[in-house]
Subunit: 545 residues, 2 copies
């Protein structure tokens, strides 16, 4: 028996696009003699469809797509994810289902039981959990169908759920497991995925075929990396990361095992590749091709510009240099050099006259009051307005260049440098931005060395440096990681050796700035805990603030 896995880049709500992509893969799998082809979880509508699922019309269109695939299944079995309606009034109205289609018929449907409802996931918002589990019989084999999370309650010390759905199927002695997933990327996820697949294979002693999505849906990036694991616990195959792929496997070979084809997992490269996909898909799926951003001469905007040029092509990236009276000469030089190195269009627009017009308008109110963050914000907002004007006039999406460290502590001006359609680096800590810069420069200097080595500064005040008001980024980032990703509280952070006063100050900064993140652009998610849908904090909360 030959099993094809297809990891595809679906587009939420683009039923025709998703369907055509799958039908093409079906034809390709047939020419390669496959008996079964597997697509991803909720592949007909894309993942996560969120509240579109509450529209009957949307569900109807999902059914229509399943129907078309059913008709395409005369000579090959098709396994595909789609929502399905709960036939009884009690419980949620939908299931998250895996359809097994063959011979123009529905041979089996397995609903998902474990509904991830944490971090970016909201599945129990929409779906009723499955309570019945049976393998599908096909060409003399019994196949344990499962959807994503249903294999994830195995191999954890603190399991999130009280059952393991595949346990229930083992009474029927299935020959192998098919798992259709939509499991988003973070830089540590591929290793965890293999660990989880192995925990299942070790528990059930049968091969497991795991299909994932690729591509980005706004903030959420899928890396593919679909897995075939043999009963010996070796990775028989791992599909490439961040690329569509279709491969056909001979079951007896997978059963035999003895082959290990795991890919290397280098953090900085994974983040780099993920961000390129994130940028590219955001533009493509919204029907845009051109980006604009402001270059400050600093490392964050430099890295963002290089990523944008690689993702969209240098001809599609335009930058503005927006110096104020406090910008140093080297900032403009560094920014200009970067634009030249990248071969992207750049222009210089001094913001001083605009700032002065604001100053004049506000003079009756501000007369005699000291220069403070207000004036810094006016500069940042003047830049934001100029960039948005170019975006509006020429149809370039503005890319936001804020990093995760700044976003965490609130070093950024709402409606100023926090403007943008997509925040490229806001899930990448400053120290990780340096690693990305080194990675981008590995085959020759693209980002001027000066942008990398100079002390970070917002240049909103004469002589200003980040280190005036923040601890060194090595310490800040380590602390933020423990607080944000690992959810450590003040006592746990002190126990890890962080200074208690610093802990209190940083946690307070993070919590007080929730209102800024609430209004921030979507953030490409590359860590296990990014800002956005995955982290939900009360704005008026008075905790550690």
């Amino acid at each position: 028996m030959k099993i094809a896995l297809a990891q595809l880049d679906y587009h939420i709500g683009n039923f025709d696009g998703n369907l055509n992509k799958m039908l093409a893969a079906v034809e390709q799998a047939k020419t390669q003699g496959a008996d079964i082809i597997c697509f991803g979880e909720l592949a007909v509508c894309g993942y996560p469809p969120r509240d579109f699922l509450e529209f009957d019309d949307f569900i109807q269109r999902c059914y229509t797509s399943v129907d078309v695939l059913k008709n395409a299944s005369r000579d090959i079995a098709i396994v595909v994810g789609a929502p399905s309606r709960n036939p009884v009034p009690e419980g949620k109205d939908l299931y998250n289902s895996a359809y097994f289609l063959y011979g123009g018929e529905i041979l089996g449907v397995q609903h998902k039981a474990l509904l991830p409802t944490y971090d970016i996931f909201d599945e129990y918002r929409y779906f009723e959990p499955a309570r019945v589990f049976h393998p599908v019989a096909f060409k003399g084999k019994k196949i344990a169908l499962s959807v994503c999370e249903d294999i994830w309650n195995v191999g954890n010390e603190n399991p999130l759920y009280t059952i393991c759905p595949l346990d229930e199927m083992m009474a029927d002695a299935p020959d192998f497991i098919l798992n259709i997933s939509a499991s988003p990327f973070n830089y540590a996820h591929a290793a965890l995925r293999i660990h989880t697949v192995r925990a299942n294979v070790e528990r059930y002693n049968i091969p497991l075929f795991y299909t994932n999505h690729v591509g980005a849906q706004t903030d959420i990036i899928f890396d593919g990396g679909s897995i075939v694991m043999s009963p010996d616990g070796l990775v028989f195959d791992e599909m490439p990361y961040f690329e569509e792929c279709l491969r056909v496997y001979e079951l007896v070979e997978v059963q035999a095992g003895g082959r290990s084809a795991e890919q290397p997992k280098e953090k900085v490269r994974l983040i780099h590749d993920a961000l390129l996909v994130g940028i590219r898909d955001y533009f493509r799926k919204l029907g845009f091709s051109k980006a604009i951003l402001g270059l400050s001469g600093g490392i964050d905007s430099a890295v963002t510009a290089v990523l944008a040029a690689k993702a969209l092509g240098p001809e599609n990236v335009r930058v503005l240099l927006l110096p104020s009276q406090y910008s140093s000469d080297h900032s403009v030089d560094d920014a200009r050099q970067l634009a030249v190195n990248l071969g992207i269009a750049y222009d210089i627009v001094p913001i001083r006259p605009i700032f002065e017009a604001f100053e004049a308008a506000l003079q009756p109110f501000f007369e005699g009051l000291a220069f403070n963050v207000t004036e810094e914000n006016i500069k940042a907002r003047s830049r934001g307005t100029l960039l948005m004007a170019m975006s509006n006039k020429f149809g370039n999406i503005l890319l936001n260049t804020t990093n995760k460290s700044e976003m965490a502590v609130g070093y950024g001006t709402l409606y100023g440098d926090l403007c943008g359609g997509l925040a490229v680096l806001a899930d990448v800590y400053k120290t990780e931005v340096y690693a990305l810069a080194a990675y981008l420069n590995k085959d020759g200097e693209i980002i001027p060395q000066n942008s990398i080595v100079k002390p970070p500064s917002a240049e909103l005040r004469p002589g200003q440096k980040d280190s005036d008001s923040l601890p060194p980024y090595e310490i800040l980032d380590a602390l933020l990681y423990q607080y944000i990703e690992c959810r450590k509280g003040p006592r746990e952070l002190a126990a890890l050796g962080f200074d208690e006063t610093l802990v209190a100050r940083v946690l307070r900064m993070v919590n007080l700035n929730e209102f800024k993140r609430e209004q921030a652009a979507p953030v490409l998610r590359v860590s296990s805990k990014g800002f956005g849908m995955g982290r939900r904090m009360p704005i008026v909360g008075k905790y550690l603030s």
Copy 2:
């Protein structure tokens, strides 16, 4: 037996504040001879605590508060909501629990079984559902304890859950039901709440005491309206809306029934009162007292200004009039008249010089290109920057004045008139804003009649009117309501009589503008489906767009 209900305004994460408030209520109930006092769901930490629940330190502080209340329960039983730890590793780590404290001991704990995970609710993100249900025995009575949603699966045609927790308790023949809730306001909710309480009383034939929260937590407003219902299905008492309240009830009197004390539920008044609470609590809980906003002479900013002045006091509200060359004279006059009527400080800052500075800076790029939405946006962003500068310099929170109709179709400039810490009217359709204006003027003209009767216009272009590009608001709002609140799709909308071309156009506008709402200020929620946490849509989705 005397039962006290306390509906209080808790503050998320403010453990000391919440505790002191409850301890004062305990003393008050004791002086009134109460045997039991009931507080709200998760009262120790406030609702919704969101991802604070993922911090062990936060949970520890909840336990500490329960301990203090336990010690305060020597002479009176205290029923209070708090998270509690799941003792087994399988399943989520927490329960959402009701504690029954008496004599310095925990007499009983009932976990919540039905975990609302829809609209603004994310409870299954944090909590394991209860599987065991037993009444608590106290002074010869058996009391069915329940938390909020656990009474909500009764009386619906399409129940969201497969069990009714109180059904399980009836084997033990409880004498009455105590339900501790955190059930957010919308203008139709109070009636629904009574319907649901009645469905339970009719099913179980015993009295039901229902306690709610009051006050706002950022976007989410609680209206109180706690209910005591007798077995005859009459509302023995309904506590006031939007006010803290403590009342003591004699159980035998409630059992006897025959008294109906339901309050009137007038939509416009409920919305009005809710918005005042929403504004007041946002400021108070963040430690601010002063607001600023821009007055355009139109109805939205006028209504927002009146609400702000009523909520915060006229001395705490400051407005700017920010005319451009396209603003009509009457706009400035109407805005000025409103400020005078309200007795609030106002200033006029023409934006033309700022606009011209932007024009000059952009002239090399825009030369020869037609005036379009770009220039309109520059004006809106110049205003936003001026208002934010005043906010930054003087510590006034900027109030956003966008209405729900505009927010839905994307008529608003990101980083321009969409600026603000809190969107006061963005869950109020334009037609409802008119009703609010009439309500605010009912005892004399505060909002100038001209602001109400003139055709709506953004005044960003000469002679511009909303009706140039939008259908009449009566039609638009009715369509938006069916799409947003009732989740009707294109065919259902056509079946309701809406023009198919208009439906396609409006739905496309709503869906294409998801990116703006993603970056909008928190919206005071007064309807059953507001923008914000309660409505989650994919930005890159290609559905009806």
